[in-house]
Amino acid sequence: MKAKYQKGRQSVWQYLRMTSIVNPHAEIIFVDPEGERHHWTRVTERLPTKVESIKPHPHGIELGQLQRMVSESNDLNLNHFLLNNFSGVTNRARKELCQAAELEGTRKMRAIKGDDIRNLLEAFQGERLVNGQPAKLLKPPTNCLSPIAAILIKKGLSKTLASRSITTLTRVPNVTQGNPFQVEVGLIFGGSMAGDKPVEILRFANRVPLMYQQGGCLLTKAIESVDWRQYGLDQAGGKGVPKGPAAILVHLASTNVQFTSEAKEALADNGEVMEEARKAMLEMGRGLRKHLEKKKKMAKTKEKFELINDILPAIAEKSAQLLNRPVPELSGSITKIMSAVISESTTVWNKATKQTDVDIVLFNYTSRARAYTILATWPEKSGATMENNDTGGRKEALGVWAWKLDALQPGERKSITFSLSGLERGDWTETEVLFRGSQDVIGATKMDEKFLQEIRRQEQLFKESEDENTPSEQTLDQAPVASAPPVVEEVAEPAVAPPEGQRTLFGGDV
């Protein structure tokens, strides 16, 4: 076979580049036919979490597959067949499935023929009812999925694309037609990327780069369905691929990725997956907008500091010199010019201690004393620990720490410092500073209790999704027993409706 080596968007190089983004634990070296060596380095020591294999869920079974499973079965009878070969089938569900299919559970497998199989499939799919309702099945477990995790997407993106800002998030797993799936997204903004071209779209299915048929792919459609203008990107008419110095990554992890064709080039339409991907985009868009607003505010604050630290002293000095008078004292003018309380924070990786050092400074440039509670976000969920926090304070919520400060006198500055250990370089690069108090603080966000509620809800979801992965398969080992575990009673219906919230930034490492 003869082939021509190509470069560009659809090339070996691009495939490897994309692969390295979603596999930050991999070291990839590629020597191209022209002898040029391309090197994508490993940026994390963390390996992807090991996944558990799961059995198919009745909602995702097709006729041919069921026929094969029945004919190849060594199970004693239908009861055993249902309990041993499917996920989400509890003892109670087994009973209901048999009733709906009008089949005896004790029926031997070889006695189950064509029409029986069809009936069983209809029961699986909720077309045959028990007491007017479909059989109640558990959701399939989701520890079979291998999300990359938001924090690692961030690392993968930042190594291949030079940029200023990255937002990533991993949604809570969901189910469509009995198949667990999970959407992860990342948005990288700014830096040297072209501002007048459509954003680069990086699509992945189960960590495999999708390079063709971009326009026909569900993941692209999810991006196109969002009005990006409200989040700071250009987009003609609020539709289509947005323009701007950005790249958007979308990853679908699923036990059954549905493609548009055999070539596996693009994802087929699916309402639930679309909804999840779209929600992820909206959430990420809000992150981008927040970042842009913050950047604007910071630029303004920086200007004010330049004004009082450089320009004002120069004015005082020069005017005194021209008039041949002593250089005047500046503090009064400074207070009048700033007339605000200002917070500045830095988050830097400390090479020597292998810790992330956070420094929050508060200046009172007003003529009155001010009292505040200062709060800061930190990656508690990612397993970081807080050290050298000499100011003390207390935990406010998962990943939010609070310090109640004594009154800050006019002209006074106070500093809060702490270090984070248990993180790698680049894991945590920006600390959000919030405050409670009556007077505005430039450089910090006023704590609104909605934000706190959101954090608490995510905390709850985070715990739930950990519990959820204590898999329901355990019931298999218990064989047909009389009473079902209480968990089953609580689950009303296989939840196809996506859950309300999702885990952001640090919810990935389940």
């Binding site: 200007e303 004010k304 330049e306 004004l307 450089d310 320009i311 004002l312 120069a314 004015i315 005082a316 020069k318 005017s319 005194a320 010199q321 021209l322 008039l323 008078r325 005047p328 004292e329 500046l330 503090s331 009064g332 003018s333 207070t335 009048k336 010019i337």
Partner: protein, 365 residues
């Protein structure tokens, strides 16, 4: 008539600006610079002087934003620079000052426009002139041709007698940037009026056709928006020789503005309108009715033209009914025409038909 200040007076006036900043800092307030608002909303007709001057509206530039603070610092550097020039007996151009500001660190200018504006600010606040500051403009003075005689002191300090018809080449007499008494004296003339012309093409056409001799006039090329020295020498000739001034421009909103700055005073230089404006000047053409009356080739008004015309409708300098009619008529026609469009009827049409007809209306031909 001398309006110059001594170096000591100039320094004292500048020190008042510096002291305003200094005193505010001592009081614990942000430093400030107070100057008149320089827009059409703050110019008013001064009956005594017969020109438009700045009104009472003041704007305070205070150092609460980075931009204004830098502007104050620049002003201090400019004051220092001018003091040094006064002490050393030197002068420089605005452009040179812009480049010298490279060494002023945080006080350096962002653009040439910045430095020009700041020099004007200082003029206005101190009531000094840029000649007092030893700052020369970069802009080109006008060209003049006609039977008028003046003397100019040359670089060696000697007075030279120049007749702007007999002692000059085809390009005429070049007006220097300083046209004050110590540099130029108006001696004698044998003309009936002065005609100011917007474009070089038309100026040269009139010379080639011998218009200045046939109609006993002095021709002055404005080069677009006229420089200060151009306006100043027109003013002096009009006053000292008691000659009428007629202004011949394109027929568009920008020409209207040029005329307003000649006759009533420009908004940017309203602090010295009484030195620069010639209130007796008359707008000869091209008027909006000329476009119709002479069926001149014309262009559609652009969006910017329409905006400019609308702005002129609310400009106090165009408040009289003749101007309101002209502006409204141009808006209705939606057309503008260049001086050169008269060439539609041949090269001599302008000197043989158009100008004689227009001048006859004014009783000048």
């Amino acid at each position: 008539m001398s309006r110059m200040h001594t170096p000591e007076e100039t320094k004292a006036a500048m020190h008042e600006v510096v002291a305003e900043m200094y005193d505010r800092i001592v009081k614990g307030e942000p430093p400030t610079m107070t100057l008149p608002v320089r827009t059409k909303n703050n110019i008013a007709f001064d009956k005594k002087l017969g020109v438009y001057k700045y009104g009472k509206k003041q704007s305070i530039r205070d150092a609460t934003s980075l931009g204004s603070a830098k502007q104050l610092l620049r002003a201090l550097h400019v004051v220092e620079f001018i003091e040094e020039m006064l002490d050393a007996g030197k002068s420089s151009t605005l452009r040179e000052m812009y480049y010298i500001s490279e060494g002023w660190g945080m006080g350096k200018f962002g653009s040439q426009n910045d430095s020009n504006n700041l020099a004007e600010d200082l003029e206005i606040v101190t009531k000094c002139l840029r000649e007092d500051f030893k700052l020369r403009p970069e802009e080109d003075g006008a060209r003049m041709i006609g039977n008028l005689t003046l003397r100019e002191r040359n670089r060696r300090g000697e007075w030279m007698r120049i007749n702007a018809r007999d002692d000059v080449g085809d390009s005429g007499y070049g007006v220097p940037y300083n046209v004050e008494l110590e540099k130029i004296e108006l001696l004698e003339h044998d003309i009936d009026f002065i005609m100011a012309i917007e474009t070089g093409g038309m100026f040269d056409r009139l010379i080639e056709n011998g218009f200045d001799e046939d109609y006993r006039c002095g021709l002055l090329h404005l080069k677009g928006q006229p420089a200060r020295s151009t306006r100043r020498i027109m003013k002096r000739m009009s006053e000292e020789w008691d000659l009428p001034v007629v202004v011949f421009l394109d027929g568009d909103p920008w020409s209207f503005r040029i005329f307003a700055s000649i006759a009533y005073g420009a908004i940017k230089t309203a602090h010295i309108s009484e030195y620069l404006a010639t209130p007796s000047a008359t707008y000869l053409g091209i008027t909006a009715d000329d476009i119709v009356a002479y069926d001149l080739p014309s262009d559609d008004l652009s969006k910017k033209d329409i905006e400019a015309l609308n702005a002129e409708l609310s400009d106090p300098r165009f408040a009289d009914s003749w101007w309101q009619d002209q502006i409204n008529m141009m808006l209705e026609l939606d057309k503008k025409a260049e001086q050169q469009s008269l060439a539609k009827y041949g090269l001599d049409f302008v000197t043989e038909t158009y100008l004689p007809e227009k001048l006859a209306e004014l009783g000048l031909a």
